[in-house]
Symmetry: C3
Subunit: 261 residues, 3 copies
């Protein structure tokens, strides 16, 4: 039996409508909330959320994702098939990083209107994506729901740039600990930074180490998080608060320590 996951910026009330629709079509289906706390309309943060967990789900899982500032406009509703898992949501890049991590994505535009109920202009999560996701979880072939397309929106969340001893980076996601997760992938770091190096990040000197407990409670640290990206943290505190950082802002990082490179 498949699993359906949900990733949205809906907060606390609207996800229940999606679950009602899914369980109406597939009684007993396992539904896992990835998060409903994606910052409102923040496609990059939503993309990171799905990217960070999709690989831990078994084959056949259907990920429904709705961070959708363009709801009601002409943006497409799409299905992505990759690595044996499925993604259903708007064509705005949201699901591409996760799909790309799992394999070689095939993208379909939802064209079979017979599967949908009356479609509101403001709640495609309930009226389109939940229904389509439930039918896929039930075993319906995606080719009966849509047509293969090649012109879809991409998104790269590993797009930091490195130049000599400087990294031009961005915040991908701020988690509930206040850890600041960047768009610097671990392989870029591994080539350039050794454990013990000191980095200057937005004016603060911060050591690059392996685990949070390597610095005292309240102290800043940077490390490779469990998601595979370079992350800035405060042991038992919030790096986002200490550094005044928000999703999507730029980071200016300089390697200054003596054990660097």
């Amino acid at each position: 039996m498949a699993i359906v996951t949900l990733t949205t910026d809906f907060g606390t009330l609207y996800p229940a409508s999606l679950k009602a629709v899914i369980l109406g079509i597939c009684p007993g289906m396992d539904i896992v909330d990835i998060t409903h706390s994606v910052p409102h309309a923040d496609i990059r943060a939503g993309a990171f959320a799905i990217y960070s967990v999709a690989e831990y789900f078994p084959e056949g899982t259907v990920h429904i994702a709705v961070v959708d500032p363009g709801v009601g406009t002409s943006r497409k509703a799409i299905i992505i098939v990759s690595g044996g898992q499925y993604f259903v949501g708007p064509d705005n890049g949201l699901m591409m990083p996760a799909a790309g991590k799992l394999g070689d994505p095939e993208v379909y535009e939802v064209t079979n209107k017979d599967l949908l109920s009356t479609v509101s202009s403001t709640f495609h999560g309930r009226d389109i994506f939940a229904r389509v996701g439930a039918f896929i979880a039930q075993g319906l072939d995606v080719r009966e729901i849509g047509r293969r397309i090649d012109d879809y929106i991409g998104l790269d969340i590993s797009d930091a740039l490195i130049q000599d001893s400087r990294i031009m980076a961005e915040v991908n996601y701020i988690d509930d600990f206040g850890n600041v997760i960047t768009n610097i992938p671990h392989n870029l770091v591994n080539r350039k930074i050794m454990s013990g190096t000191v980095l200057k990040i937005n004016g603060h000197n911060i050591p690059f180490l392996d685990i949070y407990a390597h610095v005292d409670a309240g102290c800043m640290i940077c490390l490779i998080g469990s998601h595979g990206f370079f992350e800035i943290a405060v042991n038992q505190g919030s790096a986002a608060k200490s550094l005044g950082l928000k999703n999507g802002v730029s980071l200016n990082i300089e390697l200054i320590g003596e054990c660097g490179r």
Copy 2:
């Protein structure tokens, strides 16, 4: 197999006790959280939450609802049967709008104490409503749990008043986007307001349009939300913050645009 839903103002810890009780009686039961973030003791907001999603659940669903400032007093514990679905909770109006939307409600007072465990004076959600809901989900006839009553508390969440070009309205619910959902039902709006009309709401001029993306990011808009009520929103922002509005406050709305009526 039935579904059990939960709607409370409990926040994050206490819902787990209800789930423990339900799964102890009905192993494997599907439990859907509608929301546990109803503002504390706000019966109207809780009523809106259940109202907005109940119709999407299949027949046989049991909705347990606990927004219960009168816990431990003589207020009744009730079951409502309507449109093939069940509602279990306190007799304070909380479940009436949803039940009324689904059909013609029959109300029962819980009288069979043999079904309950030791009842605390502060946590009827766990000690009464979760148990009763689980027994109904399991198939127990409501007439073995309670007796039919006619004297129960009602609640109308569509009670806006319209007078010439003025609407006296209230906030039903503020969602996690900061959208302000009013007590003005869509049919009242459809008779009076055309798309493109400008409305003066608490001193701000706001256009009535169809979808959020019809205004620029950061701009105010009003529309009929997917729940069927007149709603004030800011595209990719929070109307509640922009207008300084909270649950339950009054709204003074005036139709001033030239395409009105």
Copy 3:
């Protein structure tokens, strides 16, 4: 079929990875979130959360708990068996109050590395505890996962001291209503305080009564909560805000009323 519960300080994103791992090993398993809002690294608050709900779950339930400031250090990963239920998490006292309430705890250190996937240094919830919990829920004998130990970390959350008419207490937990739950167990209170007594708490005079509605909305009250501890509340308000209290702070309580003792 068993139930798996989750109690963490993870917030909204990381719990999904644990669920992916659990459902990958045990398809269809019932997973109940106790809470993911334990204040960051607050072991006492996490311990209270599990303690307050574990007894309502049926035999065979597996509680996975992760409030783990020592992740990546040499602190042990343990399994506790007590009263027919299982607890899996770090050896830092987090699970001991709940396990002690259910019976006579047997503690095992996780030693069988073959059951684990690659273990990251920062996310043992996903890489160790979720996997171990899923295997136990599936029926694997704990003696095939670890070895019995006697040197584990304890924690007492009922450790208030009473001296004449004074109680030296601490805050165990602040719930989402803002109710302040102390470390004063009900049996200590029952011996010393009668309903109607007035208590002086951090400078405020507060009556000890039975139910929230016994005082007017906005007024302070203290009572024995449904969890069995002495609690300070504001009817339809937040005692934590009114008294300026946070998790872990000290309380100075004096019995001053005439009906006392």
